[in-house]
């Protein structure tokens, strides 16, 4: 950094390329490993996994009880586990309680069930304010929480990751798990949104 006054600033893309090419040449990174990892996160992980967990909990009372008691095991039983999902806690929205999740220190998020977090989740405005005034932050998501509903904010850590079990939309009696899963949005599982309404 000492010579930064005499040279033009280095574009960040070049810094990344320099690191990646050096690590590959030294054998620290195997050929194709970076592409394989990125592919998993772009194509396999994402909110569609969490939506399956939610839909099963809505249709199977025993699974729901297990999910709320031991989220890690219940989620793993559907095949979703691993990096940044090693210890999962599921919190349930009810007519009396609305839950919302943040990581005030950085960006901890349940990767196996939700994939990578949206940019706003990782930024200072969300992290600083949702613990201070959650109702006004939720209003910026067009989510108005009535005064008689308690709002609980869960601060993630590098060890514990949270998933919100949203309320099942009205008018969905008898729907299949697949039909229900299609109503579950990413934000409804973070707590900054609700599910889509039944068509």
């Amino acid at each position: 950094m000492s010579h930064s006054h005499t040279k033009p600033p280095v574009p960040v893309a070049l810094r990344v390329k320099a690191i990646e090419t050096l690590l590959t040449e030294k054998g620290v990174l195997g050929a194709g490993v970076v592409d394989a990892i990125v592919d998993v996160f772009e194509h396999e992980l994402g909110p569609k996994n969490g939506a399956k967990v939610v839909a099963k909990a809505w249709t199977d009372p025993e699974y729901r009880s297990w999910l709320l008691k031991d989220g890690t095991a219940a989620i793993e039983s559907l095949g979703f586990s691993g990096f940044q999902g090693e210890y999962m806690v599921v919190v349930e929205n009810t007519p009396e309680v609305h839950n919302v999740v943040v990581c005030t220190l950085c960006s901890c998020y349940p990767w196996p069930v939700l994939g990578l977090p949206p940019n706003w989740y990782k930024t200072a405005p969300y992290r600083s304010r949702v613990v201070l005034n959650p109702r006004s932050v939720l209003a910026e998501f067009d989510l108005q929480i009535p005064d008689d509903v308690e709002v609980r904010v869960w601060d993630s850590t590098s060890d514990v990751r949270y998933l919100v079990l949203p309320e099942r939309p009205a008018g969905t009696d008898g729907w299949s798990e697949d039909e229900l899963a299609a109503l579950v949005t990413r934000d409804s599982m973070i707590g900054t949104g609700i599910c889509r309404l039944a068509a």
């Binding site: 990344v16 690590l23 620290v28 990892i37 220190l105 600083s128 201070l132 910026e140 998501f141």
Partner: protein, 104 residues
């Protein structure tokens, strides 16, 4: 440790940067940085607490002006230097080569 990353409860940080139909990565270098950092974790080069500690030592003013993945670049670079996997000299030399290749 109390430092700039510990911002829960702070006022005046600005509005939420909400974006419709947001891509997983906004730039190709973000995609590469993500893959490199996770690959290094899988290889056992560092654990999650080490990577966070590396980012939490970014100077406060720089941290505030950096994007999320820029903070990853700073943190991963620090880890690689501290673990003697790369040196600043070889990174700088590689950047010079890449610049020339890019016609800069």
């Amino acid at each position: 440790m109390n430092s700039i990353h510990d911002i829960g409860g702070m006022d005046g940080v600005g509005p939420l940067p909400l974006e419709e139909n947001e891509p997983i990565f906004h730039e190709e270098w973000e995609r590469r940085m993500f893959g490199v950092k996770v690959a290094l974790a899988i290889e056992g080069v560092y654990n999650i607490d080490e990577t966070r500690w590396a980012m939490e030592r970014i100077p406060a003013l720089r941290w505030l002006q950096s994007s999320y993945y820029e903070q990853w670049v700073d943190g991963v670079t620090r880890s690689l230097l501290e673990k003697d996997i790369l040196t600043q000299e070889e990174i700088d030399a590689r950047i010079d080569i890449l610049r020339k290749q890019g016609g800069e």
